[in-house]
């Protein structure tokens, strides 16, 4: 269970998630200290283990920096729920084994600060604060397979060894 940090905005881009001025490192802990900094300077202070970010359309647009996923993961955020994701961010998240949720309903109904619990297997978001439950469709099979293997490189390794 974690808290929802709701940004009802579209096009939250990778420069806001992790500004380029911090790309001189790829250490996750360091990146996490600046997670969402140019969007919400107080984010890292208030984010806790298992929290979720909720946002509008096109989350993660902009650069291909996987650092954006690492910064969010490093800040111990469990998942991002958005109306839609930018292509490279979506791909990077899957490749890292980081689960994303697309849901219009969740973006409309979850309020900032709500306690939410997510059952990934059942495809269910439970908003403990408001008592509502929202179902979501799971990621496509190939994505689940990669996430199940622990990310793309583990998946690739498995295939290499299989051959």
């Amino acid at each position: 269970m974690g808290k929802a940090h709701v940004y009802r905005r579209d096009h939250i881009n990778t420069d806001e998630i992790i500004p380029a001025r911090y790309l001189n490192t790829d250490e996750e802990e360091e990146l996490a200290r600046h997670c969402m900094e140019d969007l919400d300077a107080g984010f890292v202070e208030k984010a806790g283990e298992g929290d979720v970010i909720v946002a509008g359309d096109d989350f993660g647009c902009g650069s291909s920096r996987e650092h954006a996923v690492w910064a969010i993961r490093g800040a111990k955020v469990r998942t991002v729920i958005a109306r839609s994701f930018a292509r490279i961010f979506y791909r990077n998240a899957i490749n890292c084994g980081f689960y994303l949720i697309e849901s219009n309903e969740a973006v409309e109904r979850i309020n900032d600060g709500d306690e939410v619990e997510i059952d990934f297997e059942a495809g269910l978001i439970k908003d403990k604060t408001s008592g509502i439950e929202i179902s979501f469709s799971p990621l496509p099979d190939f994505a689940l397979e990669i996430i199940g293997d622990g990310g793309l490189l583990e998946h690739v390794k498995k295939e290499m060894q299989g051959n």
Binding site: D10, H11, N13, D15, E16, P19, A20, R21, L23, N24, T25, D26, E37, D38, L39, D57, D58, C61, G62, S63, S64, R65, E66, H67, V69, S84, A86, R87, I88, R91, N92, N95, C96, F142, G151, L152, L153, E154, V156, K157, M160
Partner: protein, 420 residues
């Protein structure tokens, strides 16, 4: 089955007769582009997973560019990791300081891009290379690691949007204005997950440099790739730039190929454009925002740091002085030398601009031209997101080299056609 050029290239790379949009394919990669920000983490991942190998040392092109030359100890460490890896694996095309340049300007210039190929790079603007009738897309570090080790990647075949550029460009209007107008209409997610296929008579008049400005910004509309068909201009450029391997296959879209949408633009009506902060889709004709005071002008980057761009800027600045801080950053050493030999540096010096060495630098708020709080910069780059070139309260106005040069002279956003 009728296919688009993007589908044909992916079908070839996947070893199939045909593919359809939406289909997942496992494609062979022809070229992998590596730079100093996203490649070091990919290298570390490969080492950590025990698969520290490269699929083909001749098909990987490495150039540090983002923080090149190293701006601080941390970026020096990134370069050291990149360097150690490139040497250890005997990467054939490894461009070190002195030959390194902004990746998307460097690879075509050095003859690494061929029509019909599949090119990936650890950078979102890798879509630039689609100007050469190739499939080219940006990826993150994990994908990059997989591509480096195996030479293969999974792709979902994108549906295509056809962007038809009709008519021809008016005087003082450039390909940058065209792409800003396109993104202004369809929005930053107007081509999400799609291929943006550009066609139409206006392209015929454009040089490869000008076309690259267009495909460069396909990602700013959310596209997976941007692509332009092959013609004489493409062929002439390749004849001049390809070195060892001059073989390539030309694919073109079938007449009856399926498109998710078709958008037509009458280029005769496009004005010089400025994308207002903070989205590349914020384009308005310069007339609607001229007079807005600027603090800095930046002419460079993978979008507009090529020789043609510098010539345009110099043409406007000749015999004048800039009113604000102005940085000129030739994107590659070859462009730098060309600009010097053509006397453009004298023009820039006389105009009181600074000419820097090739780097991404200030384009991403890295170094060499970072903005303070509240400052405004007219820039020939491709992104004007919050904090992109410095302080989160600074502002970036995207424009063509002509508009940036004219604005530098006036100290405020200006229409180059009126600066005489």
């Amino acid at each position: 089955m009728a296919m688009t050029i993007t589908e044909k290239i992916l079908a070839r790379a996947a070893g199939k007769q045909s593919v359809r949009s939406g289909e997942l394919v496992d494609a062979a990669i022809d070229v992998v582009m590596c730079h100093d920000v996203t490649t070091p983490p990919a290298i570390s991942m490969l080492i950590e997973k025990g698969i520290d190998r490269v699929f083909d040392a001749e098909k990987i092109v490495v150039t540090p560019d983002h923080f090149q030359p190293a701006k601080d100890v941390k970026s020096a460490e990134l370069h050291r990791r990149l360097d150690e890896w490139a040497r250890r694996h005997r990467i054939k095309h490894y461009y070190r300081l002195g030959r390194a340049g902004v990746c998307h300007a460097l690879l075509p210039e050095q003859g690494h891009i061929r029509p019909g190929e599949v090119i990936v790079g650890g950078d979102s603007h890798t879509c630039t290379y689609g100007a050469f009738a190739a499939f080219s897309t940006g990826i993150g570090s994990t994908d990059l690691a997989a591509a480096i080790a195996t030479g293969r990647l999974w792709f979902k075949v994108p549906a295509s949007i056809k962007i038809v550029l009709k008519g021809s460009l008016g005087p003082g209007v450039y390909s940058k204005d065209v792409i800003l107008a396109v993104i202004g209409r369809i929005g930053t997610d107007g081509a999400l997950y799609r291929a943006m296929e550009f066609s139409g008579p206006a392209l015929a008049d454009m040089s490869m440099e000008a076309r690259m400005t267009i495909t460069n910004m396909a990602i700013e509309a959310g596209a997976k790739n941007g692509i332009i068909g092959f013609d004489d201009t493409t062929e002439n450029y390749l004849n001049e730039h390809l070195r060892d391997n001059k073989d390539y296959t030309v694919y073109e879209s079938d007449e009856d190929a399926e498109y998710a949408a078709i958008e037509e633009f009458d280029c005769c009506e496009i004005e010089p454009m400025v994308a207002l902060p903070h989205l590349p889709s914020g384009g308005v004709p310069v007339g609607q925002c001229s007079g807005r005071r600027m603090d800095q002008a930046y002419i460079g980057s993978c979008t507009n740091g090529r020789i043609e761009d510098l010539r345009i800027a110099a043409g406007i600045m000749k015999g004048k002085k800039v009113a604000i801080r102005t940085l000129i950053v030739p994107a590659t050493p070859t462009i730098w030398k060309q600009a010097k030999d053509e006397g453009l540096f004298d023009v820039f010096y006389d105009a009181e601009c600074v000419v820097a060495a090739p780097t991404c630098g200030a384009c991403l708020g890295g170094f060499m031209g970072v903005l303070a709080a509240g400052e405004k910069c007219v820039s020939t780059t491709n992104r004007n997101f919050v904090g992109r070139m410095g302080h989160p309260e600074s502002e970036v106005y995207l424009a063509s080299p002509a508009t940036a040069a004219a604005s530098a002279i006036e100290g405020k956003l200006a229409d180059a056609r009126e600066v005489v």
